[in-house]
Each structure stands twice: as structure tokens, then as C-alpha cells.
């Protein structure tokens, strides 16, 4: 297999947009192509990460629409749907196409238009990914996070404030990211006084409903002119877990994150101690904690304490969610996995302005459903030993 480089990346402004999902995907794709300096070049493959353009906007055939909009015919194209892991799964498809030799140049674009419907309707569309059995009981994604949070606090003696500290951190990072949905810092008190959604979790523990898109251009490393700061995909792993929460041996473990992480580390020939910066799938604050444990950054039951002590802040030893995370940057479902990788690539290249951290190796963890699948990607800057 060939080594694959990320040669261009971009995201749109996340928030409420007047554009439809095709317009958002086209905007991000054009910016990524521009970033790659590839004016007029022919793409072999286009992969589009999107969950529910049909449900949100009545649009199917999304990959073809994007190819037409960008004039990329006769590139091969497909939409990749993997619920909230759609972006990461589309990236993995693009990586496979280039690594296998099938594709010399691939575009990976992820996007979702969510504000076309009411919050109630959006919650219902997202809840459709739950297993029918659990869905019949009335579960929503936030309610599963509430079950997890109470169990975590009870077993490990975590404080409610530690979870709030994650929201505060991610809002603080988002305030330094001009493309984040929220540009506003918040306090622990703001989190603890916000309305209850699914106790013990409150409004500020959850990501918002957001429109947005992100795109990446992938090419074989061997075809690239030697560049000081090119970004290489050094490891990638994907795995599943049960679709239901109730069938997991331990409600506080996310096996898909653990296994995908192990596979990515093995391919990259590194361990969690080598990661300098990470983007995790913080749909709810508690998930950033559990994922940071499954990826081996902290022992099980210790992730909350690390967050409370500031280990994962921008100036800490392991910055997590420098982009603002899903919490503050926003979670346009199909865009998220692609946007996470774009943030890590830009961190490795030193292009993150006021939220820049020192990093040579970074990790992105994109989660499908409520942990029913995960894609973990490790990126390395080419000049990093």
C-alpha cells in the first residue's frame, strides 16, 4: 500500500447557513482544492460524508450533485453514510482509494444541513439511528449520555464540575476558531445553571444543531514535491460495537473507540503517549472523558480528573479539541469526521493562529451513533521524527 498525504483542507464557517447541503459541500471543496493549489486538476474519486440529506432536505444522489456542481466528471463518486461517523468513514474510503493505487487524487467532503428543520424534528431524525428496540423506549442520543454520566460519576467519584470544565475548555478553544459555531466563552456556573436535558447533563453539556461542511484533498505521498510540512496519514483504524447500549458488557466502556484506536496505533507504530494533540467526538462532555480513556490517554476512571486539572487545555500537555470540538465548533453530522482531520492537519502545519499548539503527531476520533462505530486516524507531519 502507498502512503497517503493530505494536500489540501478547509472547512466552512459552522453555524446557521442559508446554503443547502450541496452549497456547503461545494464551498468547502473549492476552498480545499484552492488550499491544495490544484486549479483545474482532474480527480479520480469523490467521497461525500453525509447522514441524512434525504430527511433534512429531501435530497438524494448527493455525491453526483456535488460532482456536477464542481465539474469533476468523470470522477467516481459515492456518498458514505455512517451516522455521525459518516465523515470519518468517507475519509477512510478516500484513504483506501489512494493507498490501494486506484486513485491518484481523491476529494473527501463531509457536510450536513440541519437547521432546515426544527430542533424537535432534528432530534427525531438523529434518534432514528438508535436501535428500534431502544428507540421504542423513548431514547434520544442525549438520554444515553445521561445514563452514562450518572453511572460514571457514581462509579469513579467524578465531579459534575469536571464535566462542566470540558464544556468551558471547548468553548474557550472555539472562541479562538473563526469557523466555530460558538465564539463565546462560558463559565462553570453557566453550565451548572443551564436547563436540564437529561440529568445530570444540561444544555451546555451537549453540542448544538449546526450547518457546515469540511473537505480534504488526498494524494499519494510519492507524487508530492518534497515539502517541509506535508501531512501524512500514518495510521487509521475502524471498528464497531453493539448498536444497543444495553448489550454492552460495561456501560462505561466504548469498545469501538478502543479497538479502532488500537488498530490506528498499530498501523502508525506508535502508542497513545506519542500523541501531541487530539480531536475527540464530544457530542456530550462525558463522551470526551470516556473516549480519552479508551484511547489510552488516561486510565479508565481518570479522564475526568485529567480534564479538571487542565491536562487537556490548550496550554496543557495533551490539548484535546483545540477546534472547540463538537461542543463549540458544532456538529453538522456528516462534516464532523472530516473537520476533525482538517483541524489536526492544520495544527501539524502550524496554521491555527491563536489556538496553535506544538504538535508533530495528532489523532482524530470520529464516533458513529452512540459508540456503535468509530474511526480513529493518526496524522504525522512529514518532518517529524
Amino acid at each position: 500500500m502507498r502512503s497517503v498525504a493530505i494536500v489540501g483542507c478547509a472547512t466552512t464557517k459552522f453555524g446557521r447557513s442559508d446554503k443547502d447541503v450541496v452549497g456547503l459541500l461545494a464551498e468547502a471543496s473549492l476552498a480545499a482544492m484552492d488550499d491544495a493549489g490544484l486549479d483545474g486538476v482532474r480527480f479520480d474519486d469523490v467521497f461525500v460524508g453525509n447522514m441524512a440529506s434525504g430527511e433534512f432536505e429531501g435530497i438524494s444522489g448527493l455525491a453526483n450533485l456535488l460532482v456536477s456542481e464542481l465539474g469533476l466528471e468523470p470522477a467516481s463518486a459515492m456518498k458514505v453514510e455512517y451516522t455521525s461517523g459518516s465523515g470519518g468513514a468517507a475519509f477512510r474510503a478516500g484513504w483506501m482509494a489512494v493507498a490501494s493505487g486506484q486513485s491518484e487524487l481523491a476529494l473527501v467532503a463531509g457536510g450536513e444541513k440541519m437547521t432546515s428543520v426544527s430542533t424537535k424534528e432534528a432530534t427525531e431524525i438523529i434518534a432514528s439511528l438508535a436501535h428500534p428496540w431502544e428507540k421504542a423506549q423513548g431514547v434520544t442520543m442525549p438520554s444515553l449520555a445521561g445514563l452514562l454520566a450518572r453511572a460514571y460519576i457514581a462509579r469513579f467519584g467524578a465531579t459534575r464540575e469536571a464535566l462542566a470544565a470540558i464544556a468551558v475548555k471547548n468553548h474557550s478553544n472555539g472562541a479562538l476558531n473563526p469557523n466555530a459555531h460558538f465564539q463565546k466563552r462560558i463559565t462553570i456556573e453557566d453550565v451548572l445553571n443551564s436547563p436540564v436535558i437529561s440529568d445530570p447533563l444540561r444544555v451546555y453539556d451537549f453540542c448544538p444543531i449546526t450547518d457546515g461542511a469540511a473537505a480534504l484533498v488526498l494524494a499519494p505521498v510519492e507524487a508530492q514535491p518534497p515539502a517541509e510540512k506535508s501531512v501524512v496519514v500514518s495510521g487509521i483504524g475502524a471498528a464497531t460495537d453493539t448498536q444497543t447500549l444495553q448489550e454492552r458488557a460495561d456501560v462505561l466502556r466504548m469498545a469501538s473507540v478502543r479497538v479502532a484506536g488500537e488498530r490506528a496505533y498499530r498501523m502508525a507504530g506508535i502508542g497513545p503517549e506519542d500523541i501531541d494533540v487530539a480531536e475527540l467526538h464530544d457530542m456530550a462532555t462525558i463522551l470526551e472523558v470516556v473516549e480519552s480513556e479508551e484511547l489510552g490517554f488516561f486510565p479508565p476512571g481518570k479522564g475526568w480528573d485529567a480534564a479538571e486539572r487542565g491536562i487537556t487545555k490548550l496550554d496543557g500537555p495533551l490539548p484535546i479539541n483545540t477546534s472547540g470540538g463538537l461542543k463549540a465548533k458544532g456538529h453538522p453530522v456528516g462534516a464532523t469526521g472530516v473537520a476533525q482531520i482538517a483541524e489536526i492537519a492544520q495544527q501539524l502545519q502550524g496554521r491555527c493562529g491563536p489556538r496553535q499548539v506544538e504538535a508533530g503527531i495528532g489523532l482524530a476520533c470520529n464516533v458513529a451513533g452512540f459508540g456503535s462505530g468509530s474511526i480513529v486516524t493518526v496524522l504525522r507531519r512529514s518532518d517529524h521524527g
Partner: protein, 124 residues
């Protein structure tokens, strides 16, 4: 006593709920029905932002029953506590939800003094 079905693989004995087309441990497709009668509350959450057709607030839980089977279910108790004993109660599907394939399960705490299911060990 009210019970709820779960599905035991005739090959390896693994009990599943909901039923699967194929056993995740041994790959067999044949199952026999077993009954879940008593459990304990592992965790719960009071949901205020509920889906259309569901009460708000509504308490959801994860409870563990015989054979180590766990269920996400509604709780019929305004003040649940972790480790509380629970029993299943199957609700009739409501008209607006007849298209859904699953029974809606509600668990309620039984009278004091009932033995509690221990993980993986049948009480029956």
C-alpha cells in the same frame, strides 16, 4: 409474575435481548426463549427533552436482569435510586407507535424484601 422474553442461543447459551438473527458469540441462529423477571437499576436519567409521543419528564434507566441481560427502559418511580430492585412490565403499544417493532418496557420497583438479580446468574 410479569416477565419479559429474552433469547438464549441453543449452541452456546448466550442470552440476547433484543433477538438477533445470529449469535454474536458462536454464530448459531437457533434460540430458545427465557424469561426476565427481576433486576436492579444500574443507572438512570430524568429526560426533559423527550421525543414526540413520550411524556416529559420521563425517567429512563439501564437495568440488569437474570442471565446478565440488560434493558434500557422507562422507570415507573418518581425517585429512583441506583441498585434499586426492579421488575419488568410490558406496556401495550400506543396507537401512534404501532409501526415500531418493539414492546415498550417499563420497570417498576417491587415491594421490599425481594432478592436482587446478580450479574450473569439466573434467579429462576
Amino acid at each position: 409474575m410479569v416477565s419479559l422474553p429474552a433469547y438464549r442461543c441453543t449452541g452456546c447459551g448466550t442470552v440476547s435481548q433484543p433477538r438477533r438473527a445470529r449469535c454474536r458469540q458462536c454464530g448459531r441462529t437457533d434460540v430458545e426463549q427465557v424469561e426476565l423477571r427481576r433486576g436492579k437499576l444500574l443507572t438512570f436519567t430524568r429526560v426533559t427533552a423527550t421525543r414526540p409521543g413520550y411524556p416529559s419528564p420521563m425517567i429512563l434507566c439501564l437495568a440488569e436482569f437474570e442471565y446478565g441481560v440488560k434493558l434500557v427502559a422507562q422507570v415507573d418511580d418518581a425517585s429512583p435510586e441506583l441498585e434499586m430492585e426492579v421488575r419488568p412490565k410490558v406496556l401495550g403499544a400506543r396507537a401512534e407507535r404501532t409501526d415500531q417493532p418493539a414492546d415498550v418496557v417499563l420497570v417498576r420497583s417491587p415491594p421490599a424484601g425481594c432478592p436482587v438479580a446478580a450479574s450473569g446468574r439466573p434467579l429462576t
